[in-house]
Symmetry: none
Subunit: 175 residues, 4 copies
DNA sequence: TATGAATGAGGTTTCATTCAT
DNA sequence: AATGAATGAAACCTCATTCAT
C-alpha cells in the first residue's frame, strides 16, 4: 500500500462518513487526498472498489476490536468490555468516524454485516448463560441491539451524551 | 393536493425507502409515478422540496402513531404499547416501509428528529417513575435506544425476526 | 385591449428592459403581472407574439415622439428638438425604460428599425441643408449616430450624466 | 491553454456574437467546437465562467488595440487613429466579430466596461486640449459616444456603410 | 506510478406551450 | 376570459470512468 493509496483511502473514509457514499464524488475524494482523480481508478478500479477496500479494512479493524472482547474468559467482564467499547467509540473521534461510516454504508447499501457480529453474539450468549440469565440468547441479542441503537444516537443526534446511559447499563448488567 | 401530486409523493416515499435519497433520480420517481418529470418541480420546487414534503408527512404520521401510546394512563400498558408498536411495524409492510424511510433519511441527511421522540421519552420516563424504577430517565432512554436498534436490524438485517426479541422484552418489562 | 392584457404588456416591457428578452421567462412575466401563465398565450399566442406586441406599441410611440420633431419647420429648432428628445429620455424614467427596451431588443434580435429613423434622417438632412452645412447627409447621419451612442451610454454606463454632453452638443449646433 | 480549450473559447466567441449569450446553449458551443459538453465545465466551471474568459481575453485585446492609439504624441494623429480604428473594425471580419460581441455582452449583461475606455478618454481630452478646442472633455466624450453609435450601426443595421461617415468625421476633425 | 484532459451518460432544473376545467 | 395542472424538450451541470502522456 503506497502513501498515496493510503491518503485516498483515508480521505474516502472521512468523506463517505461525513456526506455518505452517493453524495461523495470521486473528484471530491481526489481533491481532498491531494491526488489526481485517475489514480483512484488505477488503484481501486471503481468507486465501488474504493468502498470495498474501506469495508475490508473496516472488517479487520472490527475484528481486532472484537477479538479482545471475545476472548475474555470472565463473563461479567466480557459484558462490561462490550459496553466499554461503545464508550471508547463515543470518546475517540477517530474510532467514532470509523463506526459512523460502517453504519452509513449499511444504510446506504443495505448490507448488514451480520457475520462481523456473530462471534460477539455467541460470546455474549455464552456469558449470559454462565451468569445464569434466563434467556441468554435473547439477552445477548438485546445487548447488540442496544449497541446498534447507541450507534444511531451517537452518529445522528447532535449533542447526545453517551456516558450516562452507558454507565447506567454497565451498572445494570453488574447484578 | 391533486391526484398526481400524491402519486409523486407515494412513489418518492417508496423509492427513497428502497434505494435511498441520493441514489434515486427524479426521473426514476417520475417514471414510477407515471408523471412527467417537470411536474415534480412544479409541485415541490426541488428534489429536496420533495424530501421535505415526505418528511413533513412523516412527522404527522409519527405523531399520530405516538399519540395513542403517550396518552395511555396505565404505566405498564404504556411500555407494552411502545414495544407493540415495533411489532406492528415489523409485521405491516406499509408501516415498515415508512419507518425505514425515516431512518434512511436520517442517516443520509444527518438530521435526527429528536423533537419527534421527546414526548414519548417523557411519557416513558413518567411510566418508569410510576413503576418505581430506580433511574426512570435512563430506563426510558434505554428503551428508545432499543427501538432505534430494533429499527436498524429490521431495516438492514435480512431475515431478522423481530417477534422473539420483542416478546422477550415485553416479558422483561412486565416485572 | 383588456385590463389584464395591458398588465401583461407592461410587465413584459419592464422585465424585458431590465433582464433582456431571452433571460425573461413567460412565468416571470405572468407572476409579475399577477396573471396566470396560460393567459399570456391566449392573448399573444407566443412569447414572440408578446415581443411583437411590444415592438408594435413601441413603433407607435416612437412615431408620436418623432412626428413632433419632424414637422418643425425651423431648421435650427428641429436640430435642437432632436437633442432635447434625448434629454427628456434621460430625465423621464418611463421614457427611459421604453427606449432601453428598444435597444435591448435590437441587440438581442439583431433587427435595427431603420425605417423608424428614416423620416428623422430626412428631416435632419433637410435642416442641415437649409443651414448650408457642407455635407448635410453626413451631418444628419452623424447626429443620429450620436443619438445611438448616447442611448448606449444612458442604458449601460451607470451614473452617466447626459445633461452636460447634450448641452454641449446643443450649443455646438447653434452656430 | 490546451487546443480544445481554445476551440471552445473561439466557438463561444463566435456564437455569442452571432446569437447572443442567453440564446446560445452550452451544447451548441460544444458541438460547434467539436468537443464534449462536459469539457466546457471542466475548463470554465460555468457558462458564466466561459463568458468571463471571453471578456478577459477581450479586455486584453482592447488594451492592445487602444495602447497604440493612446501613445500617439501628435494630437491630430491621435484623433485620426481613433477613427481609423473604427474603419478597421468595419473592414476586418475578425475584429468586427470581436467588437460586436463586446457590445452584445454589454447589452445582455448590463456591465459597461468604462475602465476600458477611460485611458482613451483621457488621451483624447489631452489631444483636443492641445488643439485648443474650447471644451476638450466634451469633445473627447462626444467622440467616444460617436464610436458607440458607430458600433451600434455596424452591428445592427444591415448594409450600413461605415466608410463615408468615418471619412466625413476624419475630415471634420482635421481642422 | 501518476497526471489531468477528455468523454458520454445521466442528473436536476427551467421553460414555452397545451389543455381540461 | 381565465386558471393552473401537466407536458416534453432542452437547458445547465455533475459524475464515474478512460486514455494519452
Amino acid at each position: 500500500m503506497t502513501e498515496k493509496q493510503e491518503k485516498i483511502l483515508k480521505s474516502a473514509l472521512q468523506l463517505f462518513a461525513q456526506e455518505g457514499y452517493h453524495a461523495t464524488s470521486t473528484s471530491k475524494v481526489a481533491k481532498h487526498a491531494g491526488v489526481s482523480e485517475g489514480l483512484i481508478f488505477r488503484h481501486f478500479e471503481n468507486k465501488e472498489g474504493l468502498l470495498d477496500a474501506i469495508i475490508i479494512e473496516g472488517e479487520e479493524r472490527s475484528q481486532a476490536l472484537f477479538s479482545d472482547i471475545i476472548f475474555t474468559s470472565d463473563a461479567e467482564e466480557l459484558i462490561q468490555k462490550t459496553l466499554d467499547m461503545m464508550l471508547s467509540v463515543s470518546l475517540n473521534p477517530d474510532e467514532f468516524e470509523f463506526w459512523k461510516l460502517q453504519y452509513k454504508i449499511k444504510w446506504e447499501t443495505e448490507r448488514y454485516g451480520e457475520h462481523k457480529m456473530e462471534p460477539l453474539l455467541l460470546a455474549l450468549t455464552n456469558a449470559f448463560s454462565k451468569l445464569s440469565y434466563e434467556s441468554p440468547e435473547m439477552e445477548a441479542m438485546n445487548l447488540l441491539i442496544i449497541i446498534d441503537g447507541l450507534a444511531t444516537r451517537l452518529a445522528l443526534q447532535k449533542g447526545f451524551e453517551a456516558e450516562p446511559i452507558i454507565t447506567f447499563l454497565k451498572r445494570k448488567y453488574k447484578g
